[in-house]
Structure formats: structure tokens, C-alpha cells
Amino acid sequence: MSVDLGLSPDQESIAELFNGFFSNEAPPAVARAAEPLGFDRELWNKVIELGAPGMGCAVENGGGGASLGDLVVVAETVGRSIAPIPLIDHLAALSVLTESDLVAGEAIAAVAVRPADANGIWSLVPAGAVADVVIGVDGDETVVVRSTPPMSGPLNHGSMPLADRSAREGTRTVLGPASLFEVVLDRWKLLTAAALVGIAEAAKELGVAYVKDREQFGVPVGSFQAVQHGLADLPVAIDGGRLLTHKAAWALDNVTDGLIDWANNEITDGPTLATMAFLFAADGAVMATDRSLHYHGGYGFAEEYDIQMYYRRARGWSLILGDSTSVGLSLADRLFGTVEG
């Protein structure tokens, strides 16, 4: 063990494979065509051929045995391409689910990121509109429900396949206590963080390319210092988010009894780092899409341009977990303990 902040050769190959795959099979036009539902079955069928849906599962269950660090690399490519497939949700759900049709990707799994209400309804489940299986908390139990997906849902900002799903209707299996769900939610936050880093990266690239090309007053817009300085913050937020996300993956993969010694800035507890990465990457994606859209001038809000799709997803993919204050306070509880009374 010693500090190594580069991708492993395997991870370099994974990044190349998936970036190549998504740029060929899922350019932004594919995400655009899949709106408003935000799901492209054909694209999902193609990622099945790559073995992506089960790549995080144990080899003995027919999966790829990939580490969380590897999955983070994949998740970033999903964000970068805003591919209209629920791969993040599926990979997170499969941290505890092992059914062979899920591992193969023939059935899709979603994560109910917020507990069911008193009537057993999970509201606005990400990927809930298209998933055959939903895992989440109902009361004090972690349950898995298999039921027919509605294949439609409320129109929403991020063009995400959201839907309310029942925790009680369909084939319901109780997996264990509610605490069992934490590992699923940690993985969902981790992989969503990575996807948000990918969104920020793509937004940065779109913005930089645009300001190099677009001329006003006879010079590229990107030669103005006001524009340059706004864009200069983006690689910092992206690199910071990527490092924090990978640290969370490393901790979840390797560290037991990690530290939460914030007073000395020593934090190696995986679940804590996953929430930190989620919050930081969400802020980074929001800032990157904000600025990139703005530097596009009028074309930034023209539907014809792609940046507005990234702008909406940066908010959609992060806010679906809850308002940012609640998520921030859940981190505070981990760091400082809960407030009594």
C-alpha cells in the first residue's frame, strides 16, 4: 500500500472501452431522442452485450467481479454521455441482489432512494418507470419488489424515468433490516457522484470548445479573461470531485473501521466519504453546467444545443435523493453525531 492516484491499467482500459462505446452508441442525440422518458431499450440491450449490468457482481454469481473503483470509472462515462439507461441504479441495486436475470441485465433493478411512505409507496423512484425490480426500505425492513414497470412517469427537469412504485404490491421479498439498505444507498451515492463528475467534465468540454470557436468583437469569446476565469474553476471542481469519489470507492472496497476524524482532516470511512463525494460532485456539476450554459450566450438556452440537457440532468440526478440541506445534514450526523431531542 502506498499512495497511487492514477487509474490502474485495467481501469484505463475500462474507461477507453466505455467512453468509446458511449460516444459511438450514445451521442447526445440518443439522449435527446429518448426524452421525455429518458430510457432507450436498444441502448440497454447493447450494454448487456458489454456485460455492464453485472460487472460489479461476484464472479460466482455470474458477474464480472469488478471493484467499486472500476464501477466509478464506468459511472463517470455514463454521466459524460448522459446515456439514457439506468446503469447507475442497476449497479447500485446489485450490491445485494444476485438473481441471474438481474446479473445478466435481462431485468432492470432500481433503487428507491427514499423510504416508503405509510401506504407503502416509494415516491419518484429514479429508474422506477422502467425497472422490473425495486429495492428500498419499507418500515424497518429492506425489501425487494418485483412488479411490472409503468414505462411512463411524471414529466421532469432531468428527463429521468421516475415513477412511484409500491413496496407491497408484486412479488415482495424481505431481505433484512432497514440497515441492510445502507450499502445499496452508499453505492448509489458513490456511482451518482461519479456520474455527476462525468456531467461536469462534458459540460466543461462543451463550454471550452464553444468559446474557442465563437467570435465576438473579432476575437474568440474564450480570449476574454472574465470568461476564462469562470471556466478555470471547472477542472478544479472536476478533479477534486473525481479524487474524492475514488477515495470513497477505495475506502468502501478496502477499509474497515475507517476514521471520521474531521478535526484532523483524517477521513477514511467509506459511507461518510460517499456522501461527501455526492454533495461535492453535485455542486460541481451544477456549477459546471451553469457556467458552460452561460458562456454559450443565447445558444445556451436554445433547445437545439446540447448543454441544456446536461444542465437539467446535473440537477435532476442529484436532487432526486433529497434537498441538498437534508443530505448535508445527514453528513453532519455522520461527522458530529446526531442532535439529541
Binding site: 500500500m1 480570449s223 479573461q225 478533479d239 458530529f336
Partner: protein, 380 residues
């Protein structure tokens, strides 16, 4: 990726922690705030005596950038006065890289023993960010150089043994090309030091050079190669010699105060605190990345700019909200009854604005990122 320190770095870190516990007493931490000198000679000597300075110095001993990062990060998190040490080690590394054998023998032992400090004469009253335009002149007179001019922000000049001095030696060459760096003892006749008191407590200086005479032995690097020497200095700094986790002790002091005063349960405070803790993690990861790049044989200049922009603004955010949250108690200074964070909240509100200026302003760093990372056209 692997975020674990190797076992010998962990051992190294633990040794530094034990030295900090022994030598960075509340009295010593307090002394920097009363004297305005951000340096602790007894700490430097102990680190020198144990061979730690030699071990952490780039190019000497083990020269592992990860260890250098760890050492300064531990000192910074503990709130230790380490500015003197950072400058001295950086310059020792430059002497080791660019100096003659005679210079190495004469200068380096005094630094890595923890005895001698170095001050840096780069900026002038009229030239800060536009450093290559400086006017302090060095003119050859027989075997000697005669130096005349003045420098600004020569921090630690009042206590340093050594001075590293950027001069103009050729008026006919383009501005980056006609510069020469000198390294000379501060007790050389003709040097005058006048203190400049600053908002952030640390005393810096204006220094004057009147017919200061030195021989060729004082030229560090090549004649008219001063800009290269300058960039070598910055490359060794690598953004890993502290300055990126200043918010950590602030958050600790603020938290103690907030808990003791029953205001820590406010959700707004808890959320802000949590977000600042995220910032501190990210700042340390960016710093660690620079160290890792250097350890892998790379030159993390651009990454240093990125780290500095982020870390300094994170510290400024933390100092802004902690003071605002503390209200009147956040106005009270050290040793005043009821001061938030024992006065650190007020101090950091004065210290944090300094950080986005010295050692390269955030604007200069954003220019670097825009031009060299994003490939945008030069804007000035």
C-alpha cells in the same frame, strides 16, 4: 487508486506528530501571533536534529514528495508556525539542484540542520504579479557585483540568515532573460530591513540594497538565468508545502466554541461545517495529487495552481461563515474573554484574505489554468 500512506510514511508521520505534540505548545502557537514571526526555531532544530528536514527536502536524503506533503500538512493542521521552514527547505532544494559544489557545502547544512532561515527578495513595490519587470539592478564591477534597489514583501528578513534575491543584470535582453538570482548572507553590508505590519499578523518587510557587494559565489544558477532559477523555486514548492489546509485548525477551534456555547445544534451551522469539512478533504486530496505527481517524476506546476485556487477559497469560505455565525464573539481577539474559537475566528478572518494574494494571486493561477489546461488564448 490507493489513498493509503506506505508504512514508512506512516512511521514518518507519527514521528512528526510526536514532535508537534512536544514542541508546538500553546505558548509557541501564541508566540507567532504576538511576534508576527511565523517560525519556531526550537521546532526547526528538533526536525533538523532528527534528520527529518534532510529527509523531506527534494533532492536530498529520501526526497520523497509524499513525505514533504505529509510533514507540511501535519504542521499546518496542528496550527504550527511553519512558514520559515517551508521557504528554507524550498531554497535548499534549489541550491541543491542549481548551486555549485561550493554553494551546496556552504549553504545547505545550515538549512537542513534547522538553524538558518531564508528570505525571498522577488517582488518590488511596483512589480508583484508582473515579476519579470523588476528593476533592482546588479552590475558587474571587476570581480564583484554591486546591487542597488529595493524589494517588497521580504518576509522573515528580520530573522533570516540568507537572502535569495532576483535582480536585473542585462537591460538589453527581453524582460524574462536579463535576470539573475543571487543568494547572499543577510549580514552583507548595505542591506536595510524595515518592517511592514499586515492585516494577517505576520510581519513582512521592505528591504533596501545600497551598493551591496558580492562575488560570483553569490550567483545562484546562471548569469541572466534568473527566471529559470525562479521557476525552479516554484516547481519545488509544488503546492505541497502547506497553505492548503489552513481551515482545519479554524474548524476545530470554532467547533469547540460552538459546542461550549450551545450553538452547534443549529442545522445551518452543522450543514456549513459539514460542507467546509468536504472542502478540506478535497483540498488535501488535490495537494496529495501534486505530491504524487512529483513522486512519479512529473512536474505538478499546473496542478499546484489548481490546488491553490481551490484551497485558498475554501479557507476563505470557512473563515467567512464561522465569523458570521459567531456574531460579536467572532470579533474578539486572542486572550479576550468570550472570543470565538479562542480568537482564531477573528484571526482567520484577517489571515484568509492574505492567502489569495501571496505566492501567486488567484487571478494569475486562473490565467495558468485557462491557458495551459483549457488551451484558451493568452488574455493579456
Amino acid at each position: 487508486m490507493d489513498f493509503a500512506l506506505s508504512s514508512d510514511v506512516v512511521e514518518f508521520r507519527d514521528e512528526i506528530r510526536s514532535i508537534i505534540r512536544e514542541f508546538v505548545t500553546p505558548e509557541i502557537a501564541d508566540r507567532m501571533h504576538t511576534t508576527g514571526v511565523f517560525d519556531a526555531p526550537e521546532l526547526n532544530l528538533e526536525l533538523g536534529r532528527r534528520g527529518i528536514l534532510e529527509r523531506a527536502c527534494p533532492g536530498l536524503g529520501k526526497g520523497d514528495p509524499i513525505e514533504m506533503y505529509v510533514m507540511f500538512n501535519e504542521l499546518e493542521k496542528a496550527g504550527a508556525p511553519y512558514d520559515g521552514l517551508a521557504v528554507a527547505l524550498m531554497i535548499a532544494a534549489v541550491v541543491n539542484k542549481l548551486g555549485t559544489d561550493e554553494q551546496k557545502e556552504r549553504i545547505i547544512p545550515s538549512i537542513i540542520s534547522g538553524e538558518a532561515l531564508v528570505c525571498m527578495g522577488y517582488s518590488e513595490a511596483d512589480f508583484g504579479s508582473d515579476l519579470a519587470s523588476i528593476k533592482t539592478r546588479a552590475v558587474k564591477d571587476g570581480d564583484e557585483w554591486v546591487i542597488n534597489g529595493s524589494k517588497m514583501w521580504t518576509t522573515l528578513a528580520q530573522v533570516a540568515e540568507w537572502l535569495i534575491l532576483l535582480t536585473r543584470t542585462d537591460l538589453d535582453l527581453p524582460k524574462h532573460k536579463g535576470l539573475t538570482m543571487f543568494m547572499l548572507p543577510m549580514n552583507t553590508p548595505g542591506i536595510t530591513v524595515e518592517p511592514v505590519h499586515t492585516l494577517g499578523t505576520e510581519i513582512t518587510n521592505a528591504t533596501w540594497y545600497d551598493d551591496v557587494r558580492v562575488g560570483d559565489e553569490a550567483v545562484l544558477g546562471d548569469e541572466n538565468g534568473g527566471w529559470r532559477t525562479m521557476t525552479t523555486v516554484l516547481a519545488f514548492e509544488r503546492g505541497v508545502m502547506g497553505g492548503t489546509n489552513a481551515g482545519v485548525p479554524l474548524l476545530r477551534h470554532f467547533h469547540e466554541w460552538a459546542v461550549a456555547n450551545g450553538v452547534f445544534n443549529e442545522p445551518t451551522t452543522r450543514e456549513r461545517m459539514a460542507r467546509s469539512i468536504i472542502d478540506m478533504q478535497v483540498a488535501t486530496l488535490l495537494t496529495m495529487r501534486s505530491a504524487w505527481i512529483a513522486a512519479s517524476g512529473g512536474m505538478p506546476g499546473l496542478e499546484g495552481s489548481m490546488t491553490k485556487v481551490f484551497a485558498v477559497e475554501a479557507y476563505q469560505r470557512a473563515s467567512r461563515w464561522t465569523q458570521a455565525t459567531a456574531g460579536p464573539a467572532g470579533l474578539l481577539q486572542f486572550h479576550e474573554e468570550g472570543a470565538a474559537g479562542e480568537g482564531f475566528v477573528e484571526y482567520d478572518a484577517r489571515h484568509s484574505p492574505v492567502m489569495s494574494i501571496y505566492g501567486g494571486t488567484t487571478e494569475i493561477n486562473r490565467n495558468n489554468i485557462a491557458e495551459r489546461h483549457l488551451g484558451l488564448p493568452k488574455s493579456r
